[in-house]
């Protein structure tokens, strides 16, 4: 197997993953899916009107990633590359949805996906807790707080959620988020502020334990 030679954007962890993915290693692909699916779904959901449309966008993106991997040059990180493909597809799909003239559009289903509440079932992304005895430092969230976090995230307006998930859950920098979502720094901060304010309010009963 040829070692993968990449540009400077890709770290060594990503390089190992990339090599494995190119070789058809299913565990590698499973890892990728498990790691990024939810964040990808939340980002897509900020551009399209329904969760099922967002799921389709994520699926198409993952397929495009698999097909495009041999041509990935590593100028950006793998993560950035994947999310850029996702955002492009989600935007296109979202724009197409808004232009649709089906009966449901005419009937007044005029939401543009931006502030829709999540569809039922989104709150299924629950983190399994780890008992304190195994995690005495409390690095991993306990079950209750973990569930409360995801419930709060699921209830956010879609655009606030995109920013919050990428910044505070996934740890992206403000520059990376602004770049991906074509936001000004100021707008990004407004969305982040609103999202954090809402999540704080919902987590309050759990934060002092």
């Amino acid at each position: 197997m040829q070692p993968v030679v990449l540009g400077g954007g890709t770290g060594s962890d990503e390089r190992d993953l990339l090599t494995a993915l190119l070789a058809g290693d299913e565990d590698a692909f499973r890892f990728l899916v498990d790691r990024y699916y939810r964040a990808m779904l939340y980002v897509a959901r900020g551009f399209v009107r329904t969760t099922s449309a967002a799921e389709e966008v994520v699926q198409e993106t993952l397929l495009a990633v698999v097909e495009g991997l041999p041509r990935f040059e590593g100028r950006s990180s793998l993560k950035t590359w994947i999310f850029r493909i996702l955002v492009n597809r989600a935007r296109t799909r979202g724009a197409r949805q808004r232009r649709c003239v089906t009966f449901s559009c005419l009937r007044g289903d005029r939401s543009d996906g931006r502030n829709d509440p999540p569809a039922p079932g989104d709150a299924a992304s629950v983190v399994t807790g780890i008992p304190r005895s195994v995690d005495p430092a409390g690095v991993v969230l306990n079950q209750e707080l973990g569930e409360a976090v995801w419930t709060a995230v699921d209830q956010l307006p879609a655009r606030q959620r995109q920013v919050l998930v990428l910044r505070d859950v996934e740890g992206w920098t403000s520059g990376e988020v602004c770049d991906l979502l074509s936001l000004s720094d100021a707008n990004q901060r407004i969305l982040l502020h609103r999202a954090r304010t809402r999540v704080r309010a919902q987590l309050l009963p759990y934060l002092n334990r």
Binding site: G24, F29, Y37, Q59, S125, V149, D168, L192, H193
Partner: protein
């Protein structure tokens, strides 16, 4: 006896204004003077200091919350696509 409302120095922040600045503060995006005003308010105000700690705790909780993998059907479909792709592309 009801005390008269405290006269506010014209530069002082009200709590409602202070909490609105907290994200910009944490991002390091406040201009120097605003930051100074906010920090003065935080020094004097237990409520807003607590609010800031709660925001920090919220951010911390979010950072430690790992998203669960997609539901098993979705996951299986995706892996099947991957498998098929690699089978046909040799």
């Amino acid at each position: 006896m009801r005390l008269p409302p405290r006269r506010r120095h014209r530069d002082e922040l009200r709590c409602r204004q202070a909490v609105e600045l907290l994200t910009d503060y944490l991002e390091g995006a406040l201009p120097t003077r605003e930051r100074a005003r906010l920090e003065a308010h935080l020094r004097a105000c237990d409520g807003c200091r607590a609010y800031l700690e709660q925001i920090r705790a919220t951010i911390s909780a979010l950072g430690r919350a790992r998203p669960a993998p997609p539901d098993p059907t979705v996951r299986a479909e995706l892996i099947e696509l991957y498998r098929r792709y690699h089978a046909t592309s040799g």
